[in-house]
Subunit: 282 residues, 2 copies
């Protein structure tokens, strides 16, 4: 496994691979790897000759009051985990390499970036889209693997790749969950024991809603209310939003039909958690 901190070095490695017609799978992360990330790495490794993992806690996707400085940085453990998965290359750039003095460019995905989580995290998705545009240009992978847990990010990055004509394919992989249903997230470790216990209410509420939909309920307001009430009744979580949207373009739905995302974001103290499930109705 090669750990590179420079663009020249990572590109030299990938250029060699490309010359041998080896396909390149790419998993962009902020590190603090958990089973969710590992599932992406396994799939990337399985489907490609070369698997590249990037680890970069991207400052531009954090708001001024957010957890950039306290975001977990666990390089040693991340490297061990990556080694176990037989990852070929870790790209581990510095902030200065990614945003040198004089840096001025942003990539914005209109409409999709200022709704849902974007309403509570202004600038977040522009930061994400910009850093991923850079990583795609640096690494030029055949396929990028993203976790469905970050549903809005998935929609935005698919749009980015399509709109700016990147040659990379985007594969979305299922959310990996703890035994009680809580979606794996690097932020779960911020939770107290009591908060951690309550946090699984998000997934349970989404499943409850899915059950009701499967029993024939199609009124989206009623479905969202059900989720909200369930979270409020069973936990101290403060809801940012509960949404029912079209899975392709994130447009709000009044009626549950087609490809639907049920999405939720809630806070326990300073810790903000998100979750979603996708439902397909004919």
């Amino acid at each position: 496994m090669i750990i590179t901190t420079t663009i020249t070095q990572v590109q030299a490695q990938l250029s060699l691979a490309r010359k041998k017609n080896k396909t390149i799978g790419f998993v962009p992360t902020m590190g603090a790897l958990h089973e969710g990330h590992l599932s992406l790495l396994r799939r990337a490794k399985k489907e490609n000759k070369i698997c590249v993992l990037s680890i970069f806690v991207n400052p531009t996707q954090f708001g001024p009051t957010e957890d950039f400085t306290k975001y977990p940085r666990e390089k040693k453990n991340d490297v061990l985990l990556a080694k176990k998965e037989n990852i070929d290359i870790i790209f581990y750039p510095s902030e200065k390499l990614m945003y040198p003095p004089g840096y001025l460019t942003t990539v914005e995905i209109k409409n999709l970036s200022d709704v849902l989580c974007g309403r509570f995290r202004p600038g977040h998705f522009t930061g994400v889209a910009t850093v991923v545009a850079k990583l795609l240009n640096i690494l030029r992978p055949d396929t990028m693997y993203l976790g469905q847990k970050d549903a809005q990010q998935c929609v935005i990055l698919k749009r980015l790749v399509q709109d700016l004509n990147f040659a990379t394919k985007v594969f979305l992989c299922p959310t990996i969950r703890e035994p009680d249903g809580l979606a794996m997230s690097s932020r779960n470790k911020y939770l107290s024991i009591a908060e951690r216990k309550e946090a699984s209410v998000l997934y349970r509420s989404l499943c409850l809603a899915r059950d009701e939909i499967q029993h024939g309920i199609r009124n989206a307001t009623r479905i969202r209310y059900l989720i909200e009430q369930n979270i409020r009744t069973l936990s101290h979580g403060k809801i940012d939003y509960v949404a029912s949207v079209d899975a392709e373009n994130l447009m709000p739905l009044n009626e549950i039909k087609g490809n639907v995302l049920l999405m939720v974001a809630a806070r326990w103290g300073q810790t903000r958690l998100i979750d979603n499930i996708r439902i397909t109705l004919k």
Copy 2:
């Protein structure tokens, strides 16, 4: 010469070239080719095995009151000129190919885009940066050739390429001028005979200023005033701006020193013309 209107076809051609280790030179244009464009094409052809010309009148870089619909479209003549220069590929995409339904992404170069011409053409440089980001991803040229006449565009696109880590080099080529000094531009054909006669005042005023600088004047306000007064005295052109800026970052200069751009934009009727000269002082 191959004229392609699809991404698949142009990429197939370029992929073949790349496999044979042929370098690719690229000249992005909006067509209505003149000697300025041809000088870029000649240099691209001379320095590369393959020369690609793109012709696309990009709607997103025109403001709502600007000349998008009346911008000259001269496909037949452009093809003839390109053939004469032994261009290998013309990429001639449709608006729908570049901006299909659902398109949402923009690339913005902060600070550089809302000054000078950007102040008079809001959104213009975001449109330019976005379409060039797309073209660079579609074509992946080794080198892109730009004309120094569009000085602000040159600075912005160099920044774009550097900030988003495109693998393309950017070469700036000297402005080509009519015998009386007027910078070649597709918009010159909008001018009446009287306006056309007057328009060379822009370059003459810039040269006058350069002479004064060479005679020791360093006060930028005085230099700008000289240019303004000269244009006002000798023509009916309405000045948008006269500027003296750092050639690398477009920051305004109070003192003429280092790499300096003297820039000017003025209108004759609906026709907006720009020009600039670069001066290097130790």
